[in-house]
C-alpha cells in the first residue's frame, strides 16, 4: 500500500525476522517446559488464524471449515500413529486437508455470502458424524490414542509451519495473485471480466489454506494424545480464527498475527486461572471486538496514533 516505505522495509524487516527466528530457535534451550507448551498453543492459534486469513481475508468468503481441516489433520495422526516418522505424518495431514479442500472448493465456491459460510459450517458437522459412525461401526473404537512427541519437537515443527505460512502469506500478498484475490473480495464480477481466473484462484488458495490447517492439526494431535470425533471436529475451531483475525485487524498482515497472539495468550492464561468464567470472558471479548473494534487492535492503534500525531492518513481507513 505504502510505496514510499518499501525500500526501508526491504532492509529492516529481514534483519528483524532473522533475529526473531534465532530467538525462537533458542527458546527450548533457555526456558521452562511450561513456556514451550504455552508457546506451542499460541503458535497453533496463530497458524490457524493466518491460514484462515490467507483465503478468507482478501476474498471476503467467511469460511467456517477450519475445524474440518484441523480435525482431518488430527485424525491423520491418530490413524498413522507410530507407523511413519512424525514429519511424514504431518505432511500427510496437510495433504489430506488440501485434497478435501480442493474438492469442496471445486463444488462450493460458486456459493456466495452466507450460503458459502453455512455450507462450510455444515461440512464440519457432516465429517464429524460420518467419522463417528465409521469409527464405531466399522473400526469399532470411540476414540484414538496418539503417540506423544516431545515438547521441543512439537515446538520446532510448529515454528516451521508458522514460518512457512508467514512466508506464503507475505509472498502472496505482494504478488499479482494476492492483488487478484483482494479484487475478488472487492468485486468478483469485475475481477472475472478483466481476465482473472477467479475459480482456480479461489480453489487453490482455499486448498492451500487447508493444507496449513491440516499440518497444524497433525502436530497438535501429538500434544493432545487422545482424540475422538467430538474433540477433533469441534466447531469452536472454526469460529476462533475469524474472531482472532478480526480482533487483531483484518486490513493488515500483522493484524491477524497480533490478534491470534494476544487472544490465545489471554485464552491460555484465562483457562487455567478462571476455568468457569472463561467462556463468559471469551464471549464478552468477542462481542466487544465485533461491536467496538471493527478494525481490530491494529485499527485501535492507528486511531490512537492519529489522535496524537494528527490525521495525516485520514483517508486510508475504510
Amino acid at each position: 500500500m505504502n510505496w514510499k516505505t518499501i525500500k526501508y522495509n526491504r532492509y529492516l524487516y529481514p534483519a528483524l525476522y532473522i533475529l526473531i527466528i534465532v530467538l525462537f530457535i533458542a527458546i527450548p534451550y533457555i526456558t521452562a517446559p511450561y513456556t514451550i507448551i504455552l508457546l506451542s498453543s499460541i503458535f497453533m492459534y496463530i497458524s490457524l488464524t493466518l491460514s484462515w486469513t490467507l483465503f478468507s481475508g482478501p476474498t471476503g468468503y467467511t469460511s467456517l471449515a477450519t475445524a474440518a481441516f484441523f480435525g482431518l489433520g488430527l485424525y491423520m495422526a491418530g490413524i498413522l500413529g507410530d507407523s511413519v516418522p512424525l514429519i511424514v505424518a504431518v505432511i500427510c495431514g496437510g495433504l489430506i486437508s488440501f485434497i478435501l479442500a480442493f474438492i469442496i472448493g471445486a463444488i462450493t465456491l460458486r456459493l456466495r455470502g452466507i450460503y458459502f459460510t453455512i455450507f462450510t459450517f455444515g461440512l464440519v458437522e457432516l465429517i464429524k458424524h460420518l467419522m463417528l459412525w465409521w469409527e464405531i461401526n466399522i473400526v469399532g473404537v470411540r476414540g484414538r490414542f496418539v503417540p506423544r512427541a516431545d515438547n521441543a519437537t512439537v515446538f520446532y515443527i510448529l515454528l516451521a509451519i508458522l514460518a512457512a505460512l508467514l512466508l506464503t502469506t507475505y509472498f502472496l500478498k505482494s504478488s499479482r495473485y494476492g492483488m487478484a484475490l483482494s479484487s475478488i473480495g472487492s468485486n468478483e464480477e469485475a475481477a472475472i471480466h478483466i481476465g482473472i481466473n477467479v475459480v482456480n484462484l479461489k480453489i487453490i488458495t482455499f486448498a492451500s489454506s487447508a493444507f496449513f490447517i491440516g499440518l497444524t492439526g497433525t502436530i497438535m494431535a501429538t500434544r493432545w494424545s487422545y482424540i475422538d470425533p467430538y474433540i477433533a471436529f469441534d466447531p469452536f475451531y472454526s469460529f476462533l480464527p475469524p474472531l482472532m483475525a478480526i480482533f487483531g485487524g483484518l486490513g493488515n498482515l500483522f493484524g491477524p498475527l497480533l490478534g491470534a497472539a494476544v487472544f490465545s495468550y489471554l485464552q491460555e492464561t484465562l483457562i487455567t486461572r478462571f476455568p468457569y468464567s472463561y467462556m463468559l470472558i471469551f464471549g464478552l471479548i468477542m462481542v466487544i471486538t465485533i461491536l467496538y473494534l471493527p478494525n481490530g487492535l491494529i485499527g485501535l492503534y492507528q486511531t490512537i496514533r492519529q489522535r496524537f500525531i494528527g490525521g495525516k492518513h485520514a483517508d486510508t481507513s475504510s
Binding site: G122, L123, L284
Partner: protein, 288 residues
C-alpha cells in the same frame, strides 16, 4: 404397516419440534438478516425455566409457555436493541453485516451458555411429565410427545396467522420485503427489527418449554438444535416461514426413517441432505 405408521408419527413429532425451533430463526434471518447462531441458547433458556418452575414449584409445564414466552421475548428484544442494532449502525454494508452478525451471535451464544452454567450447572437435567403411553388404533404412543406435537403445530399455526392476519405481523412482512418503502410508510424499522428478533427468541423459548417435557436438558444443548434449525431453514428456503414449517416436517420424517435403519447415521443424513440442497437448490423448497 404398524411400523410404517410408527415411523411416520415419530417423524411428525420430530418434525413438529424441528418446525417450531426453525420458524424463529427463519424470521430473524428473513427480516433482520441476522444469522442467529445463538438461537439454540434461547431454546435452552426456555427449557431450563420450565424445569425450574416444574421441579421447584410444581407449575404445570404448559403454563410455563406463558412465563417463558414473555421472558424470552424481552431477552430477545434487549439483545437486539443493544447489540445487533449497534452492529447494524456500524456496518452499513449488508453482506458485511450478515457475516459479522453471525460472529456476534456466536459471542452471545457463549455469554448465554456460561450464564446458564452459573445458574443450572453442567449436569444433565430432566423431569417426567405425562410419561405414560396412550394407544391409538393399537399403536403405542407416548403421551407427552403427542402433546408436544399438538402444541408445536398449534404454535406454528398461531405464529403464521399472526404474521399474515395481524397489523404488526403485516408490518414485519412489509419491512422484510422492502425496508425502504416500509420506512417511508411510517414503519419504525429499528423497532420492527427488534420486535422480529424478540419474536424469534420467543418461538425458541416455546420450543424449549415443549422439549423439556420429553427430552433431557443440559446447558450445552443449544448448538445441536441451532444446527438442525439451520438445516431446516435452508431446506425450506432462507426467510420463508411456511417453508420452515414444511422443511421441519420433511426433515423429521427423513430423520425418523434413517433412524430405523441406523440411528448413528441420522445426523450425517441431515448434513448430507443439507449440503446437497445447498448445491442444487440453495433457495430451498419454498424459496424464491
Amino acid at each position: 404397516m404398524t411400523s410404517i405408521i410408527n415411523i411416520l408419527v415419530n417423524g411428525l413429532i420430530l418434525g413438529g419440534i424441528y418446525a417450531l425451533t426453525s420458524v424463529g430463526l427463519s424470521m430473524q434471518y428473513g427480516v433482520a438478516r441476522i444469522f442467529n447462531i445463538a438461537h439454540g441458547e434461547f431454546i435452552m433458556v426456555g427449557a431450563f425455566i420450565t424445569w425450574m418452575l416444574y421441579t421447584s414449584f410444581g407449575i404445570n409445564p404448559l403454563l410455563c409457555l406463558v412465563v417463558a414466552g414473555p421472558v424470552l421475548f424481552i431477552l430477545g428484544f434487549i439483545v437486539h436493541r443493544y447489540l445487533f442494532k449497534t452492529l447494524k449502525d456500524k456496518t452499513p454494508v449488508p453482506t458485511a453485516f450478515e457475516g459479522n452478525s453471525m460472529l456476534l451471535a456466536f459471542g452471545i451464544l457463549f455469554i448465554i451458555q456460561s450464564l446458564g452454567i452459573y445458574l443450572w450447572g453442567t449436569q444433565i437435567k430432566g423431569y417426567s411429565f405425562m410419561a405414560y403411553s396412550i394407544y391409538l388404533g393399537g399403536i403405542r404412543f407416548s403421551a407427552n410427545r403427542m402433546l408436544i406435537l399438538f402444541f408445536a403445530v398449534f404454535l406454528c399455526v398461531l405464529f403464521y396467522l399472526f404474521l399474515t392476519r395481524t397489523r404488526p405481523g403485516k408490518a414485519i412482512r412489509a419491512a422484510a420485503q422492502d425496508p425502504e418503502a416500509a420506512s417511508l410508510m411510517g414503519v419504525d424499522i429499528n423497532k420492527m427489527l427488534a420486535l422480529c428478533f424478540a419474536l424469534g427468541a420467543m418461538m425458541a423459548g416455546f420450543a424449549g418449554v415443549l422439549l423439556s417435557m420429553a427430552y433431557q436438558l443440559q446447558t450445552n444443548m443449544g448448538l445441536p438444535y441451532t444446527i438442525i434449525a439451520i438445516i431446516v431453514v435452508v431446506l425450506g428456503g432462507l426467510g420463508s416461514i411456511p417453508g420452515s414449517m414444511l422443511g421441519g416436517f420433511i426433515l423429521g420424517i427423513i430423520g425418523s426413517i434413517v433412524n430405523t435403519i441406523d440411528p448413528g447415521l441420522t445426523l450425517a443424513a441431515y448434513y448430507l441432505l443439507f449440503m446437497i440442497l445447498l448445491l442444487v437448490r440453495p433457495s430451498g423448497i419454498l424459496g424464491r
